[in-house]
Symmetry: C2
Subunit: 302 residues, 2 copies
């Protein structure tokens, strides 16, 4: 397969690129060029909003499938940066759909956040549930989905992917880096945290990447697929497991700056539709935490 | 012309329906059925999200043009009701575009709010300016625009229409009702207000309705048109003129509940594109205030 990835230097993009290369795919892509790109990739430093350059890069690479991952993805920050989230996530998706109009299959990354507040009794959530976005980030993703579906793309509602390479703006990578700094004695044993009660559906990033690759090969155009484990874990549970994996204990202190105006209490997805295509998670949430810890120990403190 | 209007019982919808009837058009439409509809209209109480019923109503009426006005339109409320704003404004527009796919011309109402914070030196704003939404309301309107443009509809960016029939959730109709209650001695002479410093482009609702009708007849598919006076007035100036029109003076008190998380300081539009089609405002902002005052005196206190 010839696979073209937007946001190819990102957390999911780089992982997907490496997986595809391992499986023998030809891999091309674009990103802003501010982070390293996996070796072996036919890469151009292009903003997806630069429609002409993007269309030329896609035409030149002649992919069988495009996976559109480039996005602003931090829910908390979206409250202050609505215009940027609109530009990158909505206008960016529109630009990718236009530039990839002649490509056989286009896969657009969306998010479980589009579901909003769903009663626990109605979870895990199926794709048939109507979006009810509760943050500006979720609004932009829900809007981008409509453009994608109208253009016959495959939409992926990704739940919480976890693993090395994730920005320390997110809870668990941040905790891992704080614990590493504590282990090195560079920080007193107090962890700054946000809302720990929120329960999420964590999936190892490697399984996430495998899901995207499968959908690039076999996703049905105009259909939506959850990318989820089906299991709910609170941020607090995950933090406890991370401390166990790390062998570092710390007192927890709530940092108001890490709290969001609205936080959906529970999000778990039903991935039966993706499983029916042959996908299943192969790695555990603990594996992902071990990976995060390993990465944090090798890095400068957060 | 056979004109079909969604939200036909609303502030702009009812006004447009009456204008079109006066000009000899056949007028049909839908709305939720919770408010009276102008006489002479072929009306059905249908939610625009009921795609089958909406498509049947449009097919039966066989319009030359559809004007889509049904929306949630209160910027301040959108912060708490994002999921509803997404459903009605984005999914609702998608449903109308699908139901009206065979109609010659579809006009979709958007809002000046999509422009967001624009430096004063770059105002009045032209349609070529990229949207930079700064509220959930603006995000949903900016997203609905993309769907409309992709479907070849005409997009109208309406600035602040003003006149009788507007909900007391909005600043000036609320002030008019408060002043009427003061005039009747039912309220002490203190006016509850929000942010008075915001400057907006106020246009008489009658001129707004004329703009929509013209675009239903002559708007270019896939194009965006500002509906604006080009003049900026602060809410404070408008309130002073309203008090002068009413002959009622009152002390002003800020009510925290009327303040918004974000308020764009200035919005003025360049309507040259619409003027080139032959439109021009025929009534003044003072006319609109006089109309508001006249309506408020005849009503129960807000």
């Amino acid at each position: 397969m010839r696979l073209f990835i937007t946001g190819i230097s990102g957390f999911v993009g780089a992982r997907l690129a490496r997986l595809a290369l391992e499986r023998g795919d030809a891999v091309g892509g674009v990103c802003l060029g501010d982070r390293p790109v996996p070796g072996g990739v036919d890469f151009s430093p292009i903003d997806v909003l630069d429609r002409g350059a993007l269309a030329a890069a896609i035409e030149r690479f002649a992919p069988d499938a495009v996976v559109h991952l480039a996005a602003l993805s931090h829910v908390g920050r979206s409250w202050q940066g609505m215009a940027d989230y609109f530009r990158v996530n909505v206008l960016g998706t529109e630009a990718v759909l236009a530039a990839a109009a002649g490509v056989g299959r286009v896969v657009v990354a969306s998010s479980a956040e589009v579901y909003g507040a769903v009663p626990a009794a109605e979870q895990p959530i199926a794709e048939t549930r109507e979006p009810a976005p509760a943050s500006p980030y979720a609004l932009t993703k829900a809007a981008a989905e409509r453009l994608a579906l109208a253009a016959g793309a495959v939409v992926v509602r990704s739940f919480n992917l976890l693993g090395a390479g994730q920005s320390a703006e997110f809870a668990l990578p941040s905790f891992a880096r704080q614990l590493a700094a504590i282990a090195r004695g560079e920080r007193r044993p107090v962890l700054a945290v946000g809302n720990l009660t929120a329960r999420r559906d964590f999936l190892h990033a490697a399984d996430g990447a495998a899901g995207y690759r499968l959908l690039a090969a076999a996703g049905v155009p105009g259909e939506i697929y959850n990318l989820a484990s089906g299991e709910a874990r609170s941020i607090e549970q995950m933090l406890e497991r991370l401390m166990a994996v790390a062998g570092v204990a710390a007192r927890v202190e709530t940092d108001a700056a890490r709290l969001r105006p609205v936080d959906v209490p529970l999000l778990t997805g039903d991935a039966s539709k993706l499983r029916a295509l042959g996908w299943a998670p192969e790695r555990s949430a603990d594996d992902a935490l071990a990976e995060l810890w390993c990465e944090a120990r090798g890095e400068a403190p957060a």
